[in-house]
Symmetry: C2
Subunit: 211 residues, 2 copies
Amino acid sequence: MTMKLYCFGESGNAYKVALALTFSGVEWEPEFVDFFGGATRKPEFRAINVMGEVPVLVDGDTTLTQSGVMLDYISSKSGKLGGRSAAERREVLRWLFWDNHKLSTAIGTTRFQMNFVPEAKRSAEVIAFMQARLKSAYKVLDDHLSQRKWVAGEAMTIADLSCCGYLFYPEPFGFDRAAWPHIDAWLTRISTVPGWKAPYDLMPGSPADRV
Amino acid sequence: MTMKLYCFGESGNAYKVALALTFSGVEWEPEFVDFFGGATRKPEFRAINVMGEVPVLVDGDTTLTQSGVMLDYISSKSGKLGGRSAAERREVLRWLFWDNHKLSTAIGTTRFQMNFVPEAKRSAEVIAFMQARLKSAYKVLDDHLSQRKWVAGEAMTIADLSCCGYLFYPEPFGFDRAAWPHIDAWLTRISTVPGWKAPYDLMPGSPADRV
């Protein structure tokens, strides 16, 4: 059965899942959610996800929210992109949590402030604060990748897809890819895996549609 | 073998794990980390955890970081505090990710700014921004708990312990417990489980030590 991913192009969390679906060879189709038109605040959407967030993944009778849960589900179901031992699976999970805790949350907030909020409503102080936190996170990831090709284990896993999700977006959020050589090389490694597409090519909706 | 938890009283993420260890009946002992004295920035500590964060859990040859991973490990190993089916386990994991993504990260930042940073270095704008985000998170949790006694499934799980961790701290961070009746009742439910202790009673170190 074809899985359905409720998503929109700008969602880095949806992009992580779209990449996992693509790389694991699962049949899937995107269902566009008009986030910028207020769709996630409507009762119909809250009925699917009380958290009011995109992405949502539907596989038959199973409805999942939170990208980390979906990544784990896709990996378990397909037998791909996961760790090969209990220790590797814990290491994968560790980086999924780290990404949710330290990296993606802060990028999401910063990128939204810098690109999708009316200029009059932006806070330079908040942006500077978040960017300082992000610098610490980039350093942790860059140091980690200086020793290895992939985030966890000896091959690409969902830990890579979680951590890279937001880093492939073109909008500015204070990430200078050239300043982090090990992250840079790792992103190139991921983007040369067959099937890879940039966010706005893999999911419907992009800032270009709203110009 | 006795598990060792590297922790300090102020760490809400360590508190989640200390509660899980206590409630699951695992033998454990705290190892105090002098965070405010700079211990987590030292190379000795980075060697234990490249992420430079507390908590760290050591169980024989296994060293774990990220509270979500530890909660999952404790629950798997003890057979307690986890979901009873694959669907319940996914629901547990969903709330662990949500907590890391939306609740604990923002509380940690806000509480740190309001209580542990010199006043001259505090940003009122950042605090206000984070508190607005937190209000949305409290609402999601309060609405969810209006329908049920526990966050996931029919009994207390690690999802409860993850989400409640920071909410038991006495320092102000913009959480008015009385304003969220379902969260309030749920916190009371947790704190009346035998063995429960407040953060500064369960782990060594507290602001009182540094006055």
